[in-house]
Amino acid sequence: MFTPHTKADVEAMLKTIGVGKVEDLFNVVPEKYRFPDLNLPEPLSEMEAAAELDSIASANATTRDFICFLGAGAYQHYIPAAVDNLLQRGEFYTSYTPYQPEISQGTLQAIFEFQSLISLLTGMDVSNASHYDGATAAAEAVILANHHFRGKRSKVLLSRAINPQYREVIRGYMQANAALHIVGDDPETGIEPDLKNLIAQIDLDTSLVMVQYPDFFGRIIDYKPLIEAAHAQGALVAVVVNPTALALLTPPGEIGADIVVGEGQPLGIPLSYGGPYLGFFAVKNPLLRKISGRLVGETVDTQGELAYVLTLTAREQHIRREKATSNICSNQGLMALAATIYMTLLGKTGFQQVANLCYQNAHYTANTVQEVPGFSLPFKATPFFHEFVVQADQDVPELLVHLQDHGILGGYDLSQDYPELEGCLLMAVTEMNSREDIDYLTDVLSEVEHA
C-alpha cells in the first residue's frame, strides 16, 4: 500500500541484486515456515479505514458526552489549538532520537526547554528528557535510590496515599530484588495526614521515602517533617507531583525533596484512554549522574555557536549494556514537546489561571456536594487542590450508575483499592467543569435515594 515500487522498478532492482524473483531473497527462511497465511480481514482503502475506525470510536461515550469528575491519575484539561497544530509538524513527529545533533537541534532545544521548565516547576536542579509515564518514573526513582546506596539499604517506604497503580508498578519493576522491602503502604500505617506512622518507620536501612503531592486523595500535606526525618537517617525523599498543582503550590524542591517525579498528561496531552502520556523526573544536583534516561546538555559547535547534544550517555544501556541502571531507551519525545509547548503557550499567567480555576471549581464542588444530605467530606480538615474524597451513605457502584444514567462520570470508587474507604468516591474538578455542570451534579445527587 505505501510502497512506491513499479513492476519495472522491481525488475531493475532484482537484476542489480542478481536474483530472479523477490521470493528468492527469503531462501534462508526454513521452507517449512516460509510465507505462512495470515488470517486477517481483507485490506481497507483509506476511505474505508476512516469509516471503520469512526464507527469503532462511535461505540465509545467520551468525556465530551459526559460531564466528567473522573481523575485519579488522568485529568481532562483544555488543550489550546496551537499545541496540536505544532505537534503535527512532520519535522517533529517523523524524526527520531536526536543522535545526530547537527540535524536535530529542533528536538534537542525543545527537550532542553522541557528540562528547564520541569526543573523550575518542581524546584529541582536537573530534569531528564522524560520517562514513559508517572508510574514508571516513580519506579525509576526507587531504582535510583537502590543504586545510590549500592543496595546496602534494603527498605523503601511508600506512602499509602500514593496512586495504587504507581505502587503496583514499583513492585513490578523491583520484583527480582528479593533483598528489597517495599513497605509503609499497609492499612495499619494508614493514610492519616500527620504521617506519624510512616515517619516512625524511617531508619538507617531506609533508602527512599516516597510521598505524593497533592496525594492520591487530592490532599495538600506538609511534608517538611517527613523530609527532615528522612534526611536525619540519611534517606532520600521522592515526591510524586501533579504538575498543574505546582503552579500554585510551593514546589517540593524548595522543601528539600531529592527526587520529584510525576505524570505530565495534564500538560496539554489528551486523555486518549490512558496513553501515550509523559513521565517527568527531576533530581537535585548530587544525584544527577544517577538519573536514568536521556539528558540534553548545552555545548558549542566547532564554530563556537551554541548547540545542544544528548550527554552523559555513558550511563545508558547502549554503552553500559548489562551494567546500566535502567534499560530505558526511548523517551516520550513528542509528549515532552506537547508539554513544553503547553507550558510556554500558557506561560506564567495562563498556567496559574488554569490551576486557580481547578482549585476554585473543585472547592465550589466540594462545598455544594457536602450540603447535599447523605454526602460528606471525610478529609475536610486537610487542604486539597482539585481532587477530593466524598463519603456517601449508600452503595458507591450504584451511585455511579445513577450518575452515569444522568450523563455524569461521577468519579473513582476508592473501595477498589482502600477497603477502609468503603462508600468513598474520589472526584476531580478542572477548568473544564463549568458552574452549571457542578450545579447539575448536586441536583442529580439530591435526587438519590439514601440508605
Binding site: 515500487h5 532492482m13 527469503f26 534462508v28 526454513p30 515456515y33 495470515l38 485490506p43 471503520e52 469503532i56 467520551t62 459526559f66 488522568a74 481532562q76 496551537a82 503535527q88 512532520g90 517533529f92 513527529y93 517523523t94 547537527e102 537541534q105 529542533g106 532545544q109 530534569s127 509515564d133 508510574a135 514508571t136 508498578v169 513492585r171 519493576y173 520484583q175 500554585l248 510551593t250 486523555l271 484512554y273 490512558g274 502520556y277 546538555g297 548545552e298 555545548t299 558549542v300 559547535d301 551554541l306 547502549h318 548489562e322 551494567k323 534499560n327 531507551c329 519525545g333 509528549m335 507550558m343 510556554t344 503557550l345 499567567t349 498556567f351 480555576l357 482549585y359 476554585q360 458552574r435
Partner: protein, 491 residues
C-alpha cells in the same frame, strides 16, 4: 541562525493563551503552601508558534527525506493514522471510564491483540508495554516467573548474542539475571558450538534477535531454538527487526516462546523525536497466564441480536502491572489502522519491498565499502565505514558528510561486532530513485575520502550547527536555560 530559548524570548507582562476568571465563589489558597514565584516564560501566542516552527525547521525527518537509520525502521508514517488517533471518540476517553462506555476502545484492543498474535504465530498478546525496551522487561519477567513457578530456581542465566541490541543485557540485568554474551560465527549466525556449551541447567533463556542487527536471518534458526528448549530454557524474540518477516515467517510457529513487536517500527506509528514507542508482547500458549494486568478479553460473545462485549481481566498468574492504565492507546489506534489497511498481502508486500530495497542498496554499495558478511540480507545490512588506505577517515566522518547530501546518516558504531559500523535500513516506503541518489552519494563520499578527506573531516557544512563538542557538554553539565537572575546555575 540560533533560535533564542523561550526564556530569552520572554517579556514580563506578555501573555499567550489565557483563561476566563472563575465564576464560582472564591476560596483562599492556604498561605503555608502558596507558591512565591513561578518564573515561567511570558510570550505571545504568535511568538510561541514561531519559536516552535523555527525549531522544527532545524530537524531532519522522514517527511523531509531518506532516513536509513538501521534497526529503527524509519518508514513513512501514514497521515491517516494521525487523523484517526485524534478522533474525539478515542482521544477524549478517560482510562478509568466504566467498561460499558468504552466498548469501542476495548474492541480495538482485543482485535489488535489477536492480529498481532496471528502475525507472529502466538497465542495471545499484551498491549501494555510502553516501548520495545519495556516489552523486553515484560518478556524477561515472564521468563523469570515461568521458571520460578516450576520451582526451577537454578536458572539465572540469559544468553544474549553479541549482535543484540544494548537493551537486551540491560533488561535481563534489571530482572536479576546474569546476562552471558554469545558469540557469532563467521557467517553472522549464533555460534552453535558456544551455544551448546552454555546450555545447561543454569539456562533461563536466550534473547534472540532474528534477523539480527547485521540484518541477517540466522541460518540455523530452528536448531538454535531446539537447543535452548532441550536445555529447559525459553527463547525470547526481540522483534525490533520484524519488518523483514511480515507474512514471511511467524516466529511463534518456529518455537519462539515470547516476543515483542515495536509498533513504532514495524507498524508505522511515528517515532516522535524519540518516543512514544509501543512494545506489544506476544506469548505462546504455555505463557498466556503470565501476561501483565490488565488484559482485554471478550466478556460475552453475544449472539445474533447482541454484539459481543469486552472487558479487562487479570491473567491467572499475571506478572502484574508495568505501567499505569493500559498501554499507549493512541499508538494502538495507529497500528490497528495500519494493519486494517494492509491486510495479509499488504503486510507481506512490506517485508518483500523492505528486503528488496536493502539488498538493492547492498549490491550497489558493496563495491565501494567493505561488506563484512557478504550474504543476501534481510531489511538492513552493515558496512564498514573504514578503508585501510585512508585510515584517518572513520564511520562518523562518513555519517556527517551524508548530511551535506541531505540524507540522514545510517546508525553508526552499532552493532559493536563490526569495525566502524554503518548500519543501513532503507525500509519499504523508499523508491528506487531515492535509493539511487543515496547510493550515488555514498559512492561519491568514498571517492572524496581519497581525494578531499577534509570534506569528510569537517562535515557537515550546511547544517544549522556544525559538529558539536560533546566533551564540553559532559563537562559543563548545563541542562537548563534558567531565566537570568531568578536562579543560580551553580547552586
Amino acid at each position: 541562525m540560533r533560535e533564542p530559548t523561550i526564556f530569552e524570548l520572554s517579556s514580563p507582562g506578555r501573555t499567550g493563551v489565557t483563561f476566563q476568571e472563575p465564576d464560582v465563589p472564591l476560596t483562599d489558597i492556604p498561605q503555608e503552601f502558596a507558591r512565591a514565584n513561578l518564573p515561567f516564560p511570558e510570550i505571545s501566542e504568535l511568538g510561541v508558534v514561531r519559536h516552535f516552527t523555527k525549531l522544527s525547521q532545524k530537524n531532519y525527518a522522514i517527511d523531509l527525506g531518506f532516513y536509513p537509520l538501521g534497526s529503527c525502521t524509519m518508514k513513512y508514517n501514514p497521515k491517516i493514522n494521525e487523523a484517526i488517533a485524534r478522533y474525539p471518540g478515542f482521544a477524549a476517553t478517560h482510562p478509568l471510564q466504566p467498561e460499558d462506555t468504552v466498548q469501542g476502545n476495548l474492541y480495538l484492543m482485543y482485535t489488535l491483540q489477536n492480529w498481532l498474535a496471528e502475525i507472529g504465530g502466538f497465542a495471545d498478546t499484551t498491549l501494555e508495554p510502553a516501548a520495545g525496551a519495556q516489552g523486553e522487561l515484560v518478556g524477561t519477567m515472564i521468563i523469570a516467573r515461568y521458571h520460578k513457578d516450576r520451582g526451577d530456581l537454578k536458572r539465572t542465566r540469559i544468553l544474549i548474542p553479541d549482535s543484540a541490541h544494548g537493551t537486551n543485557p540491560a533488561s535481563s540485568a534489571m530482572l536479576g539475571f546474569d546476562p552471558v554474551q554469545l558469540p557469532s560465527d563467521e557467517r553472522g549466525n549464533v555460534d552453535l558450538k558456544a551455544l551448546r556449551e552454555l546450555c545447561d541447567d543454569r539456562l533461563a533463556g536466550l534473547m534472540f534477535t532474528n534477523p539480527n542487527t547485521l540484518g541477517l536471518f540466522d541460518e540455523n534458526t530452528a536448531e538454535v531454538i531446539r537447543i535452548v528448549h532441550e536445555a529447559g530454557g525459553l527463547v525470547y524474540g526481540d522483534g525490533a527487526n520484524m519488518n523483514a518477516l511480515l507474512g514471511v515467517f511467524k516466529p511463534g510457529n518456529c518455537g519462539i516462546d515470547v516476543m515483542h513487536f515495536n509498533l513504532h517500527k514495524t507498524f508505522s506509528t511515528p517515532h516522535g523525536g524519540g518516543g512514544p514507542g509501543s512494545g506489544a508482547v506476544m506469548v505462546c500458549e504455555k505463557l498466556v497466564d503470565y501476561l501483565p494486568d490488565p488484559h482485554v478479553v471478550m466478556t460475552d460473545p453475544g449472539d445474533e441480536e447482541t454484539a459481543p462485549t469486552y472487558g479487562f481481566a487479570r491473567p491467572k498468574k499475571s506478572i502484574g502491572r508495568v505501567k499505569a492504565f493500559h498501554g499507549h492507546f493512541g499508538m494502538l489506534v495507529r497500528a490497528y489502522t495500519y494493519i486494517a489497511m494492509l491486510g495479509q498481502d499488504g503486510l507481506r508486500d512490506v517485508a518483500e519491498k523492505a528486503v528488496l530495497n536493502a539488498n538493492y542498496l547492498q549490491a550497489k554499495l558493496k563495491g565501494s565499502y567493505t561488506l563484512p558478511y557478504d550474504r543476501s540480507c534481510m531489511h538492513e545490512f552493515v558496512l564498514e565505514g573504514y578503508w585501510k588506505d585512508v585510515p584517518d577517515i572513520r564511520a562518523l566522518d562518513i555519517a556527517k558528510r551524508l548530511m551535506d547530501y541531505d540524507f540522514h546518516p545510517p546508525t553508526n558504531y552499532f552493532p559493536l561486532i563490526v569495525h566502524e559500523a554503518l548500519m543501513i535500513e532503507p525500509t519499504e516506503t523508499e523508491s528506487i530513485e531515492t535509493l539511487d541518489q543515496f547510493a550515488d552519494a555514498m559512492v561519491k563520499i568514498a571517492e572524496e575520502a581519497r581525494t578531499q578527506p577534509e570534506l569528510l573531516k569537517n562535515a557537515p557544512h550546511n547544517t544549522p550547527v556544525k559538529r558539536a563538542d560533546e566533551l564540553k557538554a559532559a563537562k559543563d553539565l548545563v541542562f537548563c536555560c534558567y531565566p537570568a537572575g531568578d536562579w543560580d546555575r551553580n547552586k
